[in-house]
């Protein structure tokens, strides 16, 4: 992916495409789900991206911000996003209703090298809004189930009400071609039947990992990484097979504005997906 421009607009990467909101509903108190379609049908169908890539979404008068694409390229036509209310742009997005206009440009970023993982085992570890980019990986694996080995999902949230897309994940528990483990830090409902504890307490459930053919995907709040990475290292998964996404401030998404720089690495074009091995060498992160 890296090194070539594959965004929609080949002549001016800054120009958004008009899009409309097809469906939106709340996922938690401060996260909403948005299903979006490009107004130009041809572009909607031919919009090619890979899991882990992001798009810049703009609301007229409010500005623009980057969001991971949560849908999977294996289901073309519609794009899906999980968006948390955080400031100016996200507040404006939250006010939008079905059929309202937004601008979209992209896709940007390197994305996960999922094409090179055929036949491999996949472990997906997500916390909180980390589900946004990793849902794309998960759906991609499920849609192409036969080309992957084992697929395991570990998903953690603070409280049951804060687990985004929980119905979707509960439904996955019914499938027998996937290991799906869910957990909450604390249960304030008294009705939670799954594990209680931080996401690392799920690791003992992963039995008989074959580290050399396993790829791990990690995304979640900053505190989560430290502990999850430790567990993955304990499982002997090679550092360059642990993949994570980094978040930085982004103004352009195309490697020009400089805001996403970590030293001389531009998160928007060199990332946002990095291996643990890459990250260890980033001075500004240590």
């Amino acid at each position: 992916m890296n090194g070539e421009n594959k965004c929609m607009n080949q002549t001016n990467p800054y120009l958004p495409e008009a899009a409309r909101i097809v469906r939106t509903y709340p996922l938690t108190e401060d996260v909403k789900f948005f299903q979006v379609r490009l107004v130009d049908m041809e572009k909607a169908i031919s919009f090619k991206y890979s899991p882990g890539q992001f798009a810049m979404i703009s609301v007229l008068g409010a500005g623009e911000a980057p969001f991971s694409i949560s849908s999977t390229p294996s289901r073309p036509g519609l794009l899906e996003f999980c968006i948390r209310k955080a400031g100016t742009v996200t507040n404006a997005i939250f006010k939008l209703k079905e059929n309202d206009h937004i601008g979209i440009r992209g896709p940007y970023g390197n994305g996960f090298p999922i094409e090179s993982m055929h036949g491999k085992d996949i472990i997906i570890v997500m916390g909180g809004l980390g589900a946004a980019p990793l849902r794309s990986v998960l759906l991609y694996c499920l849609d192409n189930r036969d080309i992957f080995g084992r697929v395991a999902l570990l998903h953690g949230a603070k409280r049951p009400a804060e687990m985004i897309l929980r119905e979707e994940f509960f439904a996955l528990k019914e499938r027998n071609d996937l290991e799906c483990y869910l957990t909450v830090d604390a249960d304030d409902t008294g009705k939670w039947k799954e594990n209680i504890g931080v996401v690392t307490t799920l690791f003992p459930l992963l039995k008989d990992i074959n580290p050399s053919k396993t790829f791990a995907f990690v995304c979640g709040p900053p505190v989560m990484y430290k502990f999850v990475l430790k567990e993955l290292i304990k499982l002997n998964i090679p550092k360059n097979q642990i993949l994570m996404t980094l978040e930085r401030r982004m103004k352009c998404g195309v490697g020009k504005c400089g805001h996403c720089a970590i030293d001389y690495i531009y998160t928007c074009i060199d990332g946002p997906v990095f291996t643990y091995w890459d990250v260890i060498h980033m001075r500004e992160l240590i």
């Binding site: 990467p13 008009a18 703009s58 007229l60 401030r249 195309v254 490697g255 020009k256 504005c257 001389y264």
Partner: protein, 353 residues
Amino acid sequence: MKIVKLKKENLFSFLEAISEEAELWAPVQKYENKHSFQLIKDFSQIDLKYTRTILPPKKLFLPPTFNMFLATEQGYEEDFSHATKKILFGVHPCDIHGLLILDRFFQHVFDDPYYSKARQNTLILGLSCWPDENCMCKSTNTHIIEEGYDLFFSELENDYLVWIGSSQGDDCIRIKPGFFDEDITDEDIQIYIKWQNERDKAFQVDINFVAMPDLMELKYENPIWEKLGDACLACGSCSNVCPTCNCYNVLDKPLLNKDTSEIGRCWDACTLESYSEVAGGENFREKRAQRLKLWYTHKLQAYISKYGKPACVGCGRCASTCPVDINVQTVAKALEGKDMDTFWNRLSKEVTK
């Protein structure tokens, strides 16, 4: 490469002839000893003896503020009004190297049309120069130029040697063929070589740039950065004047009573506090020292990943601009473990914030 000769007295007539259908921009004295590239209406304004302009040529390709497009729900209207046809005369080697770095940067993976269109519409006419106390291009090896210009004028005694660097440059020469002499004499060559040797000796600053990437790595955690951070005013001027700083911000400016926004762009600087802020008031580089480390990583160690070279072209603008004397020279000296205090002893020792 083709080289021809032009009599000095014909320079302005030549510039006039080629700029009939384009704006001519050239160095003009703006303050005592401070210059600026300006749109030329009157040739007597041009100052051929300038050393450096306050802002580098990047201001012509991506102005400090400009609009990229108008946005409405119905569509988007691109605005390339800054990319007029221009001839930029009087660019020194350091600045041409600066443009070559920006070319690389703005074409890396994605092409930035706002930069590229303006760049394509501008002819670069270089001009030889003589170093002052802040020029460092010999140390950065950007004091001579092999590419990146359409024409390059090297001053001899009564003439200019004119290097023709591109087919557009060649077209310019053909507008006034009578002005140009293809017969370059041995004497001319002698004068030119002598001039080159003397210029080489005239540099007052000598920095070992080759050692800088290693020193940046080895001294990344060194307390010198805290000290520099104490002195830095976080004013952003160093980035604004540096010919290879590219950073910018994007603004959505809604128009009153219309469902229209102007989407604009303005220069930003990593030395400013607001640069690395994200939602909720978090800041990835809260301390001035952290921001200076990023700045000097880009200038002394590496710039774009997979390209890897440091971006300083030795123009000396940081040195002639920073109010508290943080610049490539002083930082390089600090990294080499030399006399820090001569520059920053004004700060009391207990200041560490």
